[in-house]
Amino acid sequence: MSQYLFQQIINGLALGSLYALVAIGFSMIYGIVRLINFAHGDLVMIGAFSTLALVTAGVPWPLILVFVLAIGAIAGMTIETIVFRPIRGASQVTGFIATLAVSIAIQNSALMILSGQPRNFLFPAFMRQRVGFGGVNASLTDIAIIVLTLLLIGGLFLVVYRTRLGRAMRATAENLTAARLMGVAVNRTILAAFAIGSALAAVSGLFWGGKFGQIDPLLGFVPGLKAFVACVIGGVGSIGGAMLGGYILGLSEVLFVGLLPQEFSGYRDTFVFLLLIVILLIRPSGLFVRHTEERA
């Protein structure tokens, strides 16, 4: 394989990992409370700035990873408790507008506190190294992102498919009333979904900073939107679908820019949203969802 193509694929997988981490949480939250959460991307920003603050404070990296997961979980649970839970019974449109409001509130608070000036993300110099295998090489950052993401997703699948909490989450997502009749404390289960989804989004903020080098208070908008597209590709509400959707989106975005002539590279996002429209036209329930049932 040529170094160029290999580099593109690694790059696409790393970007896809970022999208997948955000998309999974987006999908979990939609799956359990039928809420299109446009504030979800802002957790990425919160994760990125928390990382920067922790680095500045001299916390070692492995601990930073743990702290960022925790900060994301706490932020997600806070938003769910004070904003989304009180409007639970309301219509889907009300919920959707509330998530926009939360997003704008988070972004503008961040602008006020942090200023709009982009900051350099402090990432250890050795992560910028390139590692080679058999004639091709890739950036250590990209490889770390891909490996850590796979570990996190593996852990998530263990929780969702092998634990009592995961079973309760899947049951609640499918039929909230029946889950209550089983004695599931659904508010706690929903809170857990927000915590897990938001933790993954926050950690993708850490990766985002590492990959792109600069962060600003509005950086969450794009990953939030792309996560939404990734979910539509994979089928909203499905965790595996969101993950695959994230990787497909990341890879195709990078390959679109990398394999087509230079003059097309400006149309990268156009391509992404064109992909969204095409998928909505041909497979509105997503590529990886076999059956769908709409819950009123």
């Binding site: 899947r170 049951a171 009333t177 029946a178 209550r180 009749l181 089983m182 004695g183 599931v184």
Partner: protein
Amino acid sequence: MLEVRDLNVYRGATHVLKGVSFDVRQGQLAALIGANGAGKSTTLLTLSGLLRPRSGSATLRTDGAELDLTRLSSEKIVRAGLIHCPEGRQIFQSLSVAENLDMGAYTQRDRAEVCRTMEEVHTLFPILAERANVAAGSLSGGEQMMVAIGRALLAKPKMLLLDEPSLGLAPLVVETIFDVIQRLKSTGVTILLIEQNAAMALEIADAAHVMENGSIVLSGTGEELASNDRVRQSYLGVAA
């Protein structure tokens, strides 16, 4: 065991239950019969904490404890041993049969006891053991009903609310289900049964209540109601 007094429940602006009162004694199999929309399901949903009454009370007495169901969360009601097997089965279609049964045991902490109950359920419905790893949504209607009842049994009910267990099922399956209901009663579980098949319900019920327009209009033993002219005309399809 259960004492319902003057329950008034609204759904939206509609006054669905208008002062419903009845008792279910310990170990009894009580049937609630009535036309569609009379308020039977609403009664059960209120008892299991999914709907809140505007006024009235529903008291559950078990093991010397006295619980006001109208104030408890559905989670606490399940933990108290009042288990609701809802209308339309409401099984978790995407979960496997085994996972559905495990969801029934969600509040049960004693794993050994859960395993024992699981074996009992598998003895009652051998098909559920065979299909343990199949997605529950792919089962037939009758098998799904068995999942729903099995799931309720794994919750170790002291009192079981059954909403239309025979609806839409083949006669042979209905017989199996009714056999299981009677077997449950013989093990001491108190049962409140809603049934559109009034004849079958009255045959096995110790006590029955007829519901019309959100009120109980007639109560008696199963036999009494089965021989009551009004019941025979309206619910058993017998000409006067």
